[in-house]
């Protein structure tokens, strides 16, 4: 009697477990990889971003996240290096079904970054940013785009329990929101998706996902998700300018049509690594690493590390408050900022004007005393012939229009060639012309020129024009029309600018920040004691401690305590080393050591540079070191720093021939820059340049540098020759640095790679420094 009961019990247990597991989405019937509902999760994340053009090359962002199925919040605590690149500190976001809310304490007056945007957020407008600017408020569109192409398990009902490749049309109302996703191509086996292509309504590929699984006993779990994001079209827009007349009346300028362009050049390959994360009794499969590379050349663009996952019990408002408490500037920040404005970020007070600014004779007298070189204008050339002249007369037939446009293009190329010849001739003629000698401007005159300049800057627009409020939206152009008086003032300002640019202006006593008094020093001590404690706190993570170290170094500078500054830099480097932020060790470490150098602390600078260069070369890839040496940091402005890292990197035995050549070429370029710096540092009024030269001369003589340069050039050219065919392809001396986009488009020139730019620079140095008959020089010119 007992046996059937047990058997019946077993059946029930199996049936119950199966029902529970299937409804929970974990049973044999569920399609993988699929999300599992859970509560609110908090985690920290560190992002590393490489922006070659930004002058910083490596940027690290520290943030905390709170995420559940219905909403999420992000709070950025710190960006390292601070200030120079894309500083996102104190940025806070909360996104739920109804709104996308942003707050930025640091930019508290900037309306777009301190706004609640209702949802739906609408279509992303045409891209109107330029020059490296981008308003973070447009993040809301990135989120909307991501949600519009989310894939739900209900979309894949037809794939469940089937193996093979399936084309699936996606219903437009599965999520209740507008969807850009229209079609899927899914490869599935044993209820696991191996790959999935996402298409929009125009059958354009949005992304391709590939999934890799790992085995854990009988279970297979998602190990990595690799997404290929193709090059995508983007519309460039130029909003019409607001024109403000002298009487304050505003009109809207001409609207220029949006143009087609491409984003994600080279494509993006994004890899997400998933791991089991224990949250109390539950184990979840969560993303722990994200890595984005450019698909065509595998260049690492950005990455994220996710950590410290934990379940938290907060409601939406409490999450927003927690985000504010985490990323906020802190109670002592305002005091710290006030002190910095007084002692470091000093704005000189030049006092009241002692002359009548409305008397043009004052400016005429200054111009007569300090005559400037006003080279003759090259005049108007013929470069504008072509389609611009024929604007508005295009025919109705697109084929005829296309033919005409191509003819204009050919005409444009011919005109540009002619124009370049004309400009070259003009420059040759100008170079031969005599010019007035450069003078030292007397301090009183320098003060007067700067006072007048500031006065004219304020008074070139009418009272009515100044009353017109600029739109809150960034990148909206406002064009003011000068009144006759305003035009005159603009001319006077231009003349004063010319004097300051052409002649040598002295540093005035007012330019120097005040010495800290006893009360300032007391405040510095209090703030240091506060931030020393914060630098040891663990609850705001590594980013919070870096932020405290940064504030402490500024206090050291305010108090001119460079021993303390050095000890903070040592601590900073040790922290980055321990966190394995190796590229930031190189980039951020350089930025701090440079401050010691410019303060004239040459011995501590040399001590720190030796340790910094050793570690930077050992821990970083050649690609990262070369990116640093190409940049304005270690390469152009401070070549001795770059040279120290290169010397150590080139001792590595496992460099490829191309890597070795690039290192040797960059080394020769750095030595060339050092040699040129040492040639004229005494003749230039540049304190930073003088500090750099004096420090280098403590480590080597000018004769040493010349000798090293000669050897370095020979080694670099020999390494280039030894590359074989690659010397005229990957390492071909070719530069597009000074070509405009228009020229490249017209002539069909490709963009040079960093290695090609390096070869071109090396060739220029060879041309400058070696005789015409040198075999090495003629070899590189082939």
């Amino acid at each position: 009697m007992r046996k059937p009961l047990i058997a019946r019990g077993r059946v029930w247990i199996i049936v119950t477990l199966t029902v529970i597991s299937v409804t929970a989405g974990t049973g044999p019937g569920a399609l993988e990889p699929c999300g599992r509902g859970t509560g609110l999760i908090q985690f920290d994340a560190i992002s590393e971003v490489n922006l070659d053009w930004s002058g910083t090359t490596n940027i690290v962002v520290f943030a905390r996240y709170w995420v559940c199925a219905d909403y999420y919040s992000v709070s950025v605590l710190w960006t390292e290096p601070h200030g120079g690149g894309r500083d996102l500190r104190s940025q806070r976001v909360l996104s739920d079904e109804t709104s996308f809310r942003m707050k930025d304490e640091h930019l508290s007056s900037w309306v777009p970054a301190n706004t609640t945007y209702p949802k739906p957020v609408g279509e992303r407008p045409a891209f109107r940013w330029g020059g490296g600017f981008y308003g973070a408020e447009e993040m809301r569109f990135a989120e909307a785009d991501a949600l519009a192409r989310r894939v739900y398990i209900s979309d894949l009902e037809s794939v469940k329990d089937r193996d093979g490749i399936f084309d699936v049309d996606v219903s437009q109302d599965a999520s209740g929101a507008a969807r850009s996703l229209a079609h899927l191509k899914v490869e599935a086996k044993d209820n696991r998706i191996d790959s999935m292509e996402l298409f929009d309504r125009d059958q354009r590929l949005l992304a391709k996902m590939e999934y890799a699984y790992e085995r854990d006993g009988g279970r297979r779990r998602l190990a990595t998700l690799t997404a290929e994001l193709p090059v995508r079209p983007v519309k460039l827009g130029s909003p019409p300018p607001t024109i403000v007349a002298p009487d304050g009346q505003t009109t809207t300028g001409r609207t220029v049509p949006d143009v087609n362009y491409v984003s994600h050049k080279g494509g993006r390959t994004c890899t997400v690594t998933y791991e089991d994360v224990a949250l109390g009794k539950q184990v979840l499969r969560l993303p722990v690493r994200i890595r984005v590379v450019r698909s065509d050349n595998k260049q690492l663009l950005r990455s994220f590390r996710l950590m410290n996952f934990k379940r938290v019990d907060l409601d939406r408002d409490e999450v927003w408050q927690a985000a504010g408490a985490f990323g906020g500037l802190g109670r002592m920040y305002a005091t710290w900022e006030g002190l910095m404005k007084k002692l470091v970020w000093h704005t000189p007070d030049l006092g009241p004007l002692s002359v009548d600014p409305n008397d043009p004779a004052v400016v005429r007298r200054l111009v007569a005393k300090y005559p400037v070189w006003d080279p003759p204008s090259p005049g108007r050339g013929e470069s504008r012939i072509g389609f611009r002249k024929r604007e508005g007369t295009f025919p109705d037939d697109i084929e005829v229009t296309r033919e005409e446009a191509l003819a204009w293009k050919r005409e444009g190329i011919r005109a540009m060639e002619k124009e370049q010849e004309r400009l070259k001739e003009h420059h040759r003629r100008v170079a031969r012309m005599p010019r007035p000698p450069r003078k030292d401007i007397e301090p009183d005159d320098a003060r007067l020129i700067r006072q007048l300049h500031a006065h004219y800057k304020k008074s070139q627009w009418t009272k009515e024009q100044r009353a017109v409020r600029k739109p809150d939206e960034a990148m909206v152009r406002v064009r003011y029309i000068h009144s006759p008086r305003g035009r005159q003032i603009k001319e006077l300002r231009g003349q004063l600018d010319g004097i300051l640019r052409y002649h040598r202006a002295p540093t005035l006593p007012e330019d120097r920040p005040p010495e800290p008094n006893d009360s300032d020093l007391k405040l510095v001590g209090e703030l240091k004691s506060h931030y020393e404690k914060v630098a040891l706190e663990r609850d705001r993570g590594f980013g919070g401690r870096l932020k405290a170290i940064n504030l402490l170094t500024w206090l050291d500078r305010a108090a001119k305590d460079f021993d303390s500054f050095e000890s903070h830099v040592v601590r900073y480097l040790r922290m980055l080393d321990e966190a394995e932020l190796n590229e930031m060790y190189m980039v951020g470490g350089f930025r701090y050591i440079r401050i010691l150098l410019e303060a004239g602390r040459y011995d501590p600078t040399s001590r720190l540079v030796s340790r910094w260069a050793q570690k930077s070369a050992a821990a970083n890839s050649p690609e990262a070191v070369y990116r640093f040496c190409h940049s304005d940091l270690g390469g152009k402005g401070y070549p001795w720093f770059g040279l120290q890292v290169l010397d150590r990197l080139l001792k590595k035995p496992d460099l490829s021939p191309l890597e070795r050549y690039e290192g040797l070429a960059l080394r020769a370029i750095a030595l060339d820059r050092i040699d040129k710096l040492l040639a004229d540092w005494e003749t230039k009024e540049d304190a930073s340049r003088q500090a750099r030269a004096q420090w280098i001369l403590k480590n080597a003589t000018r004769a040493d540098i010349s000798r090293m340069l000669k050897t370095a050039l020979v080694e670099a050219v020999a390494a280039w020759e030894a590359l074989g065919p690659a010397r005229m392809t990957a390492a071909r001396p070719y530069s597009s640095a000074n070509m405009s986009e228009k020229t490249m488009q017209l002539w069909g020139y490709p963009e040079a790679t960093p290695l090609q730019e390096t070869s071109a620079r090396l060739l220029r140095i060879m041309q400058e420094r070696t005789p015409r008959t040198s075999p090495a020089r003629s070899g590189m010119r082939r």
């Binding site: 999300g35 509902g37 995420v67 330029g130 989310r150 998700l225 460039l236 993006r268 109705d396 405009s740």
Partner: protein, 100 residues
């Protein structure tokens, strides 16, 4: 009897094909006929304007766009961990990679 069935089948297939052809051509004619000349002219004008706008693009504002597009990607990347984890903790969502 067998021959008769075969005849009916052949004619039937022919009729179905003919019907499909007529339906398709009718639909096409309707589609083309529904577009008025003014709409066609408008489309042509838009195509020409877009072509010329794109043609002039390098001279207008593409010089500085690439750095800003790179910054857009990097700034939007801040949301990527949130969106990835949100998918992982939401019932019924297939794990994918978001836009950025």
């Amino acid at each position: 009897m067998k021959r008769q069935w075969s005849w009916i089948r052949r004619r039937g297939v022919l009729l179905v094909l003919l019907g499909a052809l007529l339906f398709w051509s009718g639909a096409s004619i309707r589609m083309f006929a529904s577009e008025r000349p003014s709409v066609q002219a408008q489309r042509k004008r838009e195509a020409i304007e877009q072509f010329l706008a794109d043609f002039r693009a390098p001279a207008v504002n593409a010089y500085m766009v690439d750095p800003s597009l790179a910054v857009r990607e990097h700034d939007d990347f801040l949301l990527t961990p949130a969106l990835l984890v949100q998918e992982a903790v939401s019932d019924g969502v297939i794990l994918t990679y978001p836009e950025e």
